[in-house]
């Protein structure tokens, strides 16, 4: 027999931002309160059972107009997997040309089906000395 506990969330489904209270006994959800619509209850249940997040970052790229290639996760990962995913992405690098949607790493941080993909196309460009900041003195 576990005691009743409660969790508090702010609903992000729309800009109203209903303050939600979820009552549970262990893993068992007893009730959700505070929502003005059904999306609030759904959000609180999802947050309690399996909160998932996605994020974007960049990886170094050579031969492109800028030195960084923006990348994203193809799907959300469990929230606690974010640091591991970030650490794995930090080891990546790319070389132009890169196509939008190109997969740079599969199953990031061991999460099956979640890939790291390029968010844009970066063509190979000729870098002239005046464009290259590292050559400036």
């Amino acid at each position: 027999m576990t005691a009743r506990q409660e969790q508090h969330y702010v609903c992000i489904s729309c800009p109203i931002g209903c303050p939600l209270r979820l009552v549970h006994e262990g893993d068992q959800i007893i009730e959700v309160e505070g929502q003005e619509c059904n999306r609030g209850a759904k959000y609180a249940r999802q947050e309690f059972t399996d909160p998932r997040r996605t994020f974007s970052t960049t990886v170094p790229i050579t031969g492109a107009v800028y030195g960084r290639l923006p990348v994203k996760l193809s799907a959300p990962v469990p929230r606690q997997a974010i640091p591991a995913a970030m650490a794995a992405i930090r080891l990546l690098s790319a070389e132009a040309p890169v196509r939008l949607g190109q997969v740079l790493l599969r199953d990031v941080a061991g999460v099956a089906g979640v890939d790291v993909v390029a968010c844009r196309t970066m063509d190979r460009v000729m870098i002239t000395p005046s464009d290259d900041p590292s050559s400036a003195t």
Partner: protein, 426 residues
């Protein structure tokens, strides 16, 4: 074609961000064929290129895209449809010759100073960030103070981490998103400080960018002093009263090596001003009629140079329209002048366009002064709509159908946001 610039066009678009790209496509849709986009950066895409987070396109594409993905969809269309894009180029002036052609003065890296002849111009220069000077923070003038968007550019395009220990002033969406971004890159974010008693960003961003990472949000609190000689070493922060005055007795110091400012955006209208275009003091952008034409004939405006939008989807919608009207103008299609002035009333900070006509549907954008929940949106005595809530950070959009204006014989239409109890119709 990328990098090509001829001497003669139907429509010249100033700026190759989301507004400029959509305006160019809109112009093409209206039936003109020669369109030039003038862009000062090495590539088109504008601010979206550095907004690598997701959240764009939910209205326009009905899917969630990152900024670069959203931009690329438009860049691809612009290239496929043979619109010319001049990178590293800058519009320095505009004149009208005796035959009614507009002469656009373009300064570019490759071509030097050139004059391009066209029939219509679309202004799509976007906006820029308010800086320390705009809020007059006392203290020293050390390095390490950045606007949030500049820090975002350094980090996401160039790959430089602006600092190791940051304080963020202002809780707009850019500030919130940078808090998460810096944290992911190993910079400690000491807190986000907001002068107002509420966050200026979306709830979603407060939850997913601050709460998830344990970053405190201090409401009704502001930075009152900057410390440090060469590099910023700390800021003094203090709670403020209802009038916004800081309480020095309750102030405390926060050590940091970086201060990010996310304190608002200003439409970038130096070019418009130099042309003598009439500006609206509230929006900071040009006054426009229902075709998004400015006070200078043949010159149109759209996107953040017209008024600061919160969603790029609305920029796209507005810019497609501006581009179409600019294209029609280039094809010598003339519409009768608008007969109805649209004016902001109770709790409406501004509404756009400034005038309407009765012959076609109109998309009206407006912003509330303060939060209301629920409330009634009233358009003259023509239309009433109940809204669940309005907040200043969320633009309200409304379509006014021509049937509604059919029997409207006045010359002034006022928009009000009224509380539900006090403002009911008899």
């Amino acid at each position: 074609m990328f990098g090509r610039m001829n001497r003669r066009y139907d429509v010249v678009v100033v700026g190759g961000g989301p507004a400029g790209l959509a305006a160019a496509l809109g112009a093409l849709d209206s039936g003109v064929s020669r369109v030039l986009v003038v862009e000062r950066e090495p590539e088109p895409g504008g601010i979206l290129r550095q907004c690598i987070h997701a959240g764009f396109g939910l209205h326009h594409f009905r899917e969630e895209l990152t900024g670069p993905e959203y931009a690329e969809r438009f860049v691809t269309q612009v290239m496929d449809r043979d619109i010319d894009v001049a990178p590293h180029s800058y519009v320095t002036g505009l004149a009208v010759d005796s035959s009614g052609h507009r002469l656009v003065r373009v300064l570019s890296e490759r071509g030097g100073l050139a004059t391009v002849e066209c029939r219509s111009v679309v202004l799509a220069m976007g906006c820029r960030e308010r800086t320390r000077g705009a809020v007059r923070i006392p203290g020293t003038r050390p390095a390490g103070i950045f606007t949030a968007g500049l820090a975002q550019k350094l980090l996401n395009l160039d790959g430089y981490l602006p600092g190791r220990r940051a304080v963020i002033l202002g809780s707009g969406d850019i500030g919130l998103i940078m808090a998460r971004r810096l944290t992911l890159e190993g910079c400690k974010v000491e807190g986000v400080f907001e002068l107002m008693p509420y966050s200026n960003g979306l709830t979603r961003n407060v939850v997913q960018c601050l709460d998830d990472y344990g970053i405190p949000l201090h409401l009704s609190t502001t930075v009152t002093r900057i410390h440090g000689r060469d590099r910023i070493e700390a800021v003094t922060v203090a709670p403020v009263d209802e009038t916004g005055r800081p309480d020095a007795a309750r102030a405390w110091d926060v050590p940091c090596d970086t201060l990010l400012l996310s304190i608002g955006l200003i439409p970038e209208n130096e070019l418009s001003e130099s042309l003598g275009i009439a500006l609206d003091v509230v929006t900071g952008g040009p006054k426009v009629d229902s075709t998004l034409a400015t006070s200078l004939p043949g010159v149109f405006a759209c996107g953040n140079v017209l008024h600061v939008h919160d969603l790029v989807d609305f920029v796209t919608e507005e810019a497609l329209r501006a581009g179409r009207f600019a294209g029609e103008h280039a094809r010598q299609i003339r519409r009768p002048r608008d007969a109805i002035a649209l004016v902001p009333g109770a709790n409406v900070r501004y509404c756009l366009p400034h005038t309407l006509s009765a012959d076609r549907p109109h998309t009206v954008y407006m912003r509330a002064k303060t939060r209301m929940s629920p409330c009634i949106l009233r358009v003259g005595n023509l239309l009433e709509r109940r809204l669940r809530f309005v907040v200043p950070a969320e633009m309200i959009h409304l379509t006014i159908q021509p049937e509604l204006l059919e029997r409207f014989y006045e010359d002034r239409l006022q928009i009000d946001l009224l509380p539900v109890d006090g403002g009911g119709v008899p």
